[in-house]
Amino acid sequence: MDTLNLLMQGFATAATPMNLLYAFLGVLLGTAVGVLPGIGPAMAVALLLPLTYGLEPTSAFIMFAGIYYGGMYGGSTTSILLNTPGESATVITAIEGHRMAKAGRAAQALATAAIGSFVAGTIGTALLVAFAPPVVDFAVSLGPSSYLAIMVLAFIAVTAILGSSKLRGFASLGLGLAIGLVGIDPVTGQQRLVFGQPLLADGLDVIVVAVAIFAVGEALWIAAHLRRNPLSTIPVGRPWMGKQDWKRSWKPWLRGTAYGFPFGALPAGGAEVPTFLSYVTEKRLSKHKEEFGHGAIEGVAGPEAANNASAAGTLTPMLALGLPTNATAAVMLAAFTQYGIQPGPLLFDNEPDLVWALIASLFIGNTLLLLINLPLAPLWAKLLQIPRPYLYAGILFFATLGAYAVNLQAFDLAILLVLGLLGFAMRRFGLPILPLVIGLILGPRAEGQLRKALQLSGGDVAGLWSEPIAIGVYIAVAALLALPLVLALVRRRRPQAAAALAAAEGPTAAAAAVAEEPATDRAAARDRAAATDQAAAPDQAAAPDRAAAPAPEERQPHHKDSHSHEKESL
């Protein structure tokens, strides 16, 4: 059967009244969660998992998909109205979005964000439909050694690229892998890291771990550093856009989508880099350059589209390869296992109904988001007035309830507490969370592939690089690991640029500095996108790419400084 047929069937499944209801619920919850401080989509899905045990997996995943897209959207609402971007992905939206809101154009900013999200999400999902089947066809032909290589790439990419300290990233990865080891070895039946505790023999419930790290750890961390000074939101009416706004928005939407999707599909590609690239591009191409820094609509439209397209991109490796590239995808993969569904390339063959209903529901959820969010935006802003004690006590309450409901044993709550404290400590000492989750989820599968690969080669270690794809991927891994050196060299060679930035005062100088970058960045982005589609990045392509990528982190602060500087002088 061809893709279109399958997709139509998916729509038939997803469009039943019950499933539409779940999609609606998911979108609603997701947006609420995106708006509320301290709760992200990963935590929301983790908290909801236990509540969905009674549901058909299809319905549950339709709801999760809604939460995922809704969360992306909700984040942009807060960054426009409050200038407190919750996730790094919406930092860029906040730059122009909040300025627009302050200039009395909150309605247009919200509208371009909502419609842009819809456009990017829809195109992104269509790209997912187009790309996933060929990726699956390709993946099915791969042997265990290639899989192992791809998983190693995922480990290294997540650890070495994200976060400021690689060492701490690897520590986090090690912890995740160790947690994943607990339980009975599937091959020899021996107990590992069980310490004589019969309750540990089945392994740690992934849901309990996810809830502990994302919900309990986060709630404790926020409780330890509660903000005390309240902000006020900018009042909004119903979002709308004039003709001029449409004219200025549609191209940024499309360009943002083009940036977002490939980056989302990369391990650790994420949404930060494409949103930044989109911002820089729009700034350069805009006919209203003078408005940038004072609320240019292009600066909201582009990054928002990039953000949502990257969310769709993330789903491609998740569904086609069983490879999570961000926290929410990791938790959703955990959910698959929870329902006894094996993620990986065979998912499309084994569970076509589920997969295509999920994809169809992404289209539906996207449309619902647009329909719900345009009229409800003022209501979402009200959610921010919930007193913090209720919010964070609520997170702890539902985390406990969910973890307890899995097996109805208090022992799980003790695990929840211990790992929650670990999550707290990790946040305090700057260990990124994502490597732990990826290690936890992919670790056992990577071990399985390792053993299979060596079984096939009869114990010969060369079996690990018996396939060309595996070799290619290992070269990419080596390139990733070598990047810091290249980066250091490049940095040393460009001290003048940094000095110029530091010396830059006032918004125009800093803004001009930001605008210098785009050409190289864009070329690099294309290289990078091309590289992953083949799952094997030659190191020349990857190296300059990474060298250009950290630019956002370096430059953003300067950019922001210039804004606050400007504010002070007003």
């Binding site: 401080p37 409050l82 407190t84 903000r227 005390r228 000074n229 309240p230 902000l231 006020s232 939101t233 802003a381 921010l384 007035q385 919930i386 007193p387 913090r388 004690p389």
Partner: protein, 130 residues
């Protein structure tokens, strides 16, 4: 001597503020402006932000009254903060804004104004929005 006014950025709050300036300049009293928040939510629309405070400041300067602007964030009710300020500044008058409410609305909501009226040790002037 001094006059304490509870300020929130609403028509009622504005009315109270205007009236308090008038009272203060009439009596040549020091004006203590209290704008508090429990600080327990991300967003509190009743807490004046920088620009709003700057605007208040310039109005106070223009009216040429001696004044203090307080924005306590101690997790206390607004009523408590106003009463506290009145106590510590030895206020002779407290000015507050009052919303129009139905008796039922009053029953459900409870009220900052009511607490101030009941517990203040000095006269309280309740102003409604024009």
């Amino acid at each position: 001597m001094s006059i304490v006014v509870g300020y929130i950025p609403t028509p009622e709050g504005e009315a109270a503020f205007e009236r308090a300036i008038a009272e203060a300049s009439k009596a040549a009293a020091k004006l203590v402006v209290v704008n508090s928040s429990r600080g327990d939510a991300v967003v509190d629309q009743r807490f004046a932000q920088e620009e709003q405070i700057a605007a208040l400041q310039s109005r106070l300067d223009a009216a040429e009254v001696e004044h203090v602007l307080l924005q306590p964030l101690r997790g206390h009710d607004a009523a408590e903060e106003v009463l506290d300020a009145a106590e510590s500044h030895g206020a002779e008058l407290i000015v507050i804004g009052l919303r129009k409410r139905s008796p039922v609305g009053k029953l459900i909501m409870g009220s900052t104004a009511q607490r101030i009226l009941l517990e203040a040790r000095c006269p309280v002037l309740a102003v409604k929005a024009g």
